[in-house]
Symmetry: C2
Subunit: 395 residues, 2 copies
Amino acid sequence: MTSLDDLVDRMPDVGPAATEPHARQREDRAARILWSGLLEPGDRVGGALIRARGAAEAWRLVEGSPSADVLAAEADIGRNEAKAAIERWAPRLGSRTAEEALERAERHRVAVLVPGDDDWPAALDDLGDHAPPCLWVRGGRGWSAGRDPSVAIVGARAATSYGEHVAGEISAGLAAAGVVVVSGAAYGIDGAAHRAALASGGTTLAFLAGGCDRAYPSGHTDLLERIAASGAVVSEVPCGAAPTKWRFLQRNRLIAAATHATVVVEAGIRSGSLNTAGHAASLGRPIGAVPGPVTSSASAGTHRLLREFDAVCVTGVDDVRELIGLDPGNGTVAPSPEAAGRIRVLDALSDRVPHRVEDVAARSGMSGADVRAHLGTLMLEGAAEAVADRWRRVR
Amino acid sequence: MTSLDDLVDRMPDVGPAATEPHARQREDRAARILWSGLLEPGDRVGGALIRARGAAEAWRLVEGSPSADVLAAEADIGRNEAKAAIERWAPRLGSRTAEEALERAERHRVAVLVPGDDDWPAALDDLGDHAPPCLWVRGGRGWSAGRDPSVAIVGARAATSYGEHVAGEISAGLAAAGVVVVSGAAYGIDGAAHRAALASGGTTLAFLAGGCDRAYPSGHTDLLERIAASGAVVSEVPCGAAPTKWRFLQRNRLIAAATHATVVVEAGIRSGSLNTAGHAASLGRPIGAVPGPVTSSASAGTHRLLREFDAVCVTGVDDVRELIGLDPGNGTVAPSPEAAGRIRVLDALSDRVPHRVEDVAARSGMSGADVRAHLGTLMLEGAAEAVADRWRRVR
């Protein structure tokens, strides 16, 4: 098993460019890498322990095979929860996952980000004990999740051309406006969102379920290269880790947490992108859903979000801008009393036969005085004209 | 001018089949017919006066040319409002509209419904002072707005084939379930809704903006005949009255008020059906909106309802049933802890190489005990199988 002290010695190559003046920070980074190799994403007990004792002290505690009572007291959790954690960590405590991941990271120019780094996306802290101990980042020149507005655009792998078109339009519009487009690099909607952001010269980030040294799906190897070259490819699991179904579900929580809003473009009724939206909702992030034909199964999931999860109906990039507070909206449905009177007067006028004010009043059910007032306005608008002492509608 | 007493003598032929034992009821009916000829739809002052004094006494008051002060006191309204009402009623007080309408009604077998009649839709009382004094009804054998659940299906005249298809599907499903389908007999969505309800052998009602002896639009003459033959064609304006734009807007309030929910299938961004939905919202009736492609201008209005008016996203007849309380809905997005554990164990299994429990535990990041528990469930589900002391995923 890799010890924390061994790993600290190997640290210089894997952190971001910023120098780390203190040994303590180096130790924290090394410990977080070890935790990253031990914990499955979203492990609450690991998160609680790290929060309570710091990553390094927490790691030394776990290395020492603590009793459930000790762990429960240190992490401020229940005894049964502590016992379950010890049991699930045990099979991995002897592994060399972290060390091997570091070797792969160096080969693939993958950096490790930890809380406190300039580029650490502070929004992830909203995950509390479910926050990842560190992030593995390929590329990262365009990484600025903490500073620029960002939107997750996610959706079905089995997207329609309609869905890909809309995802592309929204992504391009956002990217052109300086909004970071975040997605999951899958086929379908994700890919369309990344490609459009790249084509607009914007910044796009891909969060992967497996190690970010592995191109997944392999058909997106080139796309992931391009994303890494201008934005970043990010994962919470160590290099070399396989993209399991569980990690996809947990990866979705990172996409939701790292962004200001999540927009689902197309989704089947049980699509994983609904899971992303669910994470966004539980984090209080706004959810947008793009509607589509009710006859299209690829839109069944977005309609479910509109129905059951109070998602905002998103019809284009302006709606997304509004979702993240970049734009206001407005609109009314009923005519004002003033407009209503004018409508009634216009109804009562003919465009052929001119009528006297008294006739217009009888036809519209309004007083002569009101009719005269509205006729004045309509005349100024060019909608009505006087012919001697009668009035006619202008076609 | 037709006096109330004259009209009372003409009453036997225009009421519904129910006999009216009292002279007072006959007088009330006659007075409401006169009011129907005087007021433009939605005239609040007329409604307030009728509510305060009864239709007959109110009419005699107005026949006597009251001062604004007297009218204000009798109707419990402001003096200026009373003055404006007197001025707008004056041009029509000398007309024979009501008498002529009755002659037309007899020729076209149009009945007059008033509050208190068995078939009067009590839901209209929610309109308060804006309620119509009476309704003119052609057909009416299927009229049962007060008893059966009813839904308004409305939308754009310039509908797409998609919109007409969805309107037809929803209408047919509702009609087959005994829900009365209400619409406005316009081309496009309205017509599709009526036709599908008729084809399903259900009851459908058409509310017209003009007199219900006039087929409008004329291209729907046959459709209106069929609606009248099995359901009803209804209007608040007297026979012979023209369908003006104002009356369309006010007709929409009747459609919204007479039904338990309003569903808009397709609507341009300024469609009149948004006005119907606005009335439904102000009456506290639920609004449903059918989404469509964001690239279709015919769906821009329904998307606006979803965005700005808290409409419920409706994707089919089941959603509409739920909207009026006929069906519950359910659904969750996140996997349960139990399901989450199973997902992680399945992720860690191979469908080729069987693994020991300890390996599965390390791969999934779970304790051996938890893995064993989930393996048991997965085996019972046929998703995993034991091979000697190892486990494999079943394809």
